[in-house]
Symmetry: C2
Subunit: 414 residues, 2 copies
């Protein structure tokens, strides 16, 4: 798209009350707008990044048999009372509201209860299992503090997958499949090299759950990492028994600040029993369905990419999540330059390359500063000088040197 | 996808408390699940339909210069007080909630206020205008009665577009562009033949707004239609002055029940002035931005398609919005039939045809009843009989006769 048409403007300063690096940069570059603490609008380029992240996750979820659906924000008190999670003593981040026609509702902070109840309509026999269903839905958490930008929002996007299995064996096998799919997601979005599957607290149905923790200075979490084996443990659960279980020596562990970018959890019958989600097995016996839940927050992943990869000039997007693949920057308004750049722009669009075309009449310094701030992976510069040689100047966002290339060669690097 | 894998099951009866035809059929066919009155989960096939409708709308919005973004659900009281729309005396469908850290929030029933405030960061000069921005976002309305299924929900999807212009001329021209784009949307989704641009109440900045009203027995709205000219007027605004304005004779008007599937509204400076959205014109004078707003509810469009097109056997989807393009129904479990159908299924998938493959071991009557209920536009039946002739039986959902065809010929009709 033409940058002269893009309605968002970059800005030199973030709002004074914004303390997180991720939100500061994303606001300055025009990717998000702060409505209030922990509540951010996605502007066009921010939405493009989120859609890219969602699509990467969606493909992996579909590949392991996930079926996409879309649960509701408004929550029926009745089902949350059955699992003892309605009271604010039990779940302390509820937003609640009232129906005019009478009755209290909640805004979904997670969706185990409604999906378990809904599945009672679709699961009755062992023949119906296993089922894996997921969604991308906005979640609401009434956080007292929301200082980490889009990493801990009061309103945020979540991909949540739920598994419904016959037995523990089925759950265990699918759980490992999800863990591998999550690893692929984090590799693809560009944070895999710093992301560790981490042992975390389990529950009545499994000794441990697992989190995916990305090592990052801005992290609110703490893990202990054994760098040799790559085994990581959430600080909250580390004790002598865990060390023994995992064959770790305390002296080999290094404490790291981390962001939790995903988690996987074996729920067992915790939700199926109180909500009446049972199936009849081959011998006619009624049994509770065995559940698991698996979350990744696309907004939090976006924030983590920013925290991890950006530099002092601005955002740095991996190719897979970038709002555009190429930033075409035109310097000057001479007819020859304009027509060269216009032609290159339409050629790139025809080839299906997502390109942001800076066709604005601004000084080169301003254009380059904006380009660095926005962080598109590759920059093509068209100027009097490049046009004279029938070439373009190509610069990767993460390299300091640029290179003069023919258009043909430049296209090869995309 | 294989129907044996699809987790939703069809059912003979809708929930007893569900009185609307659209929700009854969509629940029975496994497209939606009722969480509570006016609040419905989208199951996999329902989500596919909504995504198709959204994509049709998105293309039209992009074609007229719309830039997609994503505003928030949680609303800051402060901006709604500035426009005098916070109080429940003024807007009687608010859901409100409280921040734990103090303060009251609303759940967005519409988004004029936050987008006007946000635009103050991006609009300062006449050079920044016009801007057209839109989103697909869940809206919340605390309706006392919610008896029309997905046509009047308490939680529902909305495409809302907002225009920001220099002056009335710009607004007027864009308004007509949107009207044409809306016409194309309703034609494409399959309800255009019954949908009328209807004169409705305006406001301080324009005498009329316009609604797009679909003639339908289930409609809660009433319009007067002049069938000869195609001019329609919302019953609420019809009076002698309007008749004169539109050169209509009362005797030519027929009252029709309708569903409002879209609306377009000239807002003028109603929101820009109180929220401080001004620009500086070429001569340095500060002026309020001229706004318009334009809505289509994808869920309501889906409900309207159901009300308008379904028959006594079930749903009937137009090709453009159908969850799948082809319903491949296999009758029997003989090796020859299974391998013929399996091959056809993978061939269709390879060609990028969206196909639901009924590979379940059920009686033909049950399969056909399910197929009619689900309402995919074209059915391919593979049975001993068709395999013997190396053909398939092709049936359109809306025709009673089927036809034996070679696969090659059958592919041509897709």
């Amino acid at each position: 798209m033409r940058q002269s048409q893009l309605f968002t403007k970059t800005r030199k300063e973030a709002p004074a009350d914004e303390v997180s690096k991720n939100a500061q940069l994303l606001i300055r570059a025009g990717f998000i707008h702060k409505e209030m603490a922990g509540v951010y609008t996605l502007l066009p380029m921010g939405l493009r990044v989120i859609k890219n992240i969602e699509e990467i996750i969606r493909k992996e979820m579909n590949a392991i048999g996930g079926q996409e659906m879309f649960l509701t924000v408004l929550q029926d008190k009745e089902i949350w009372e059955k699992t003892n999670r309605w009271s604010s003593d039990k779940v302390d981040i509820w937003f609640k509201t009232n129906l005019k026609s009478g009755g209290e509702l909640g805004l979904g902070p997670t969706h185990e209860e409604p999906i378990a109840r809904m599945m009672t309509n679709h699961i009755s026999s062992y023949k119906n299992l296993p089922i894996y269903a997921y969604q991308f839905q906005t979640k609401f958490r009434n956080e007292v503090r929301a200082k980490s930008g889009i990493i801990r929002g009061r309103e945020f996007s979540m991909k949540d997958l739920y598994s419904f299995d016959l037995d523990q064996t089925g759950l265990d096998a699918f759980y490992e499949k999800v863990a591998l799919a999550y690893k692929r997601v984090f590799n693809t979005v560009g944070i895999g090299h710093q992301t560790y599957r981490t042992f975390a607290s389990g529950g009545p149905f499994s000794k441990y759950s697992h989190e995916f923790q990305t090592v990052c200075e801005a992290g609110e979490d703490r893990i202990y990492l054994d760098e040799k084996s790559g085994i990581a443990v959430n600080k909250e659960v580390l004790n002598d028994e865990v060390l023994k279980d995992l064959k770790l020596a305390k002296k080999d562990l290094i404490e790291k600040k981390t962001i939790e970018v995903g988690n996987i959890f074996k729920l067992g019958t915790k939700f199926s029993e109180p909500l009446g989600l049972f199936y009849t097995d081959e011998s006619g016996v009624s049994k509770p369905v065995i559940m698991g839940s698996y979350g990744i927050g696309p907004g939090r992943v976006m924030g983590t990419i920013v925290e991890l990869l950006s530099d002092d000039k601005g955002l740095v997007w991996p190719k897979t999540t970038a709002p555009f693949q190429v930033h075409l920057v035109r310097l000057g308004e001479n007819q020859a330059v304009v027509s060269f750049a216009d032609n290159l722009y339409s050629d790139l669009e025809k080839r299906g390359v997502e390109v942001l075309y800076d066709d604005r009449d601004l000084r080169p310094g301003e254009k380059f500063a904006d380009s660095d701030l926005i962080g598109i992976p590759v920059r093509f510069v068209v100027s009097d000088k490049t046009v004279a040689e029938n070439k373009i100047e190509v610069k990767h966002r993460t390299l300091s040197e640029s290179e003069l290339m023919s258009i043909k060669d430049a296209l090869k690097i995309l």
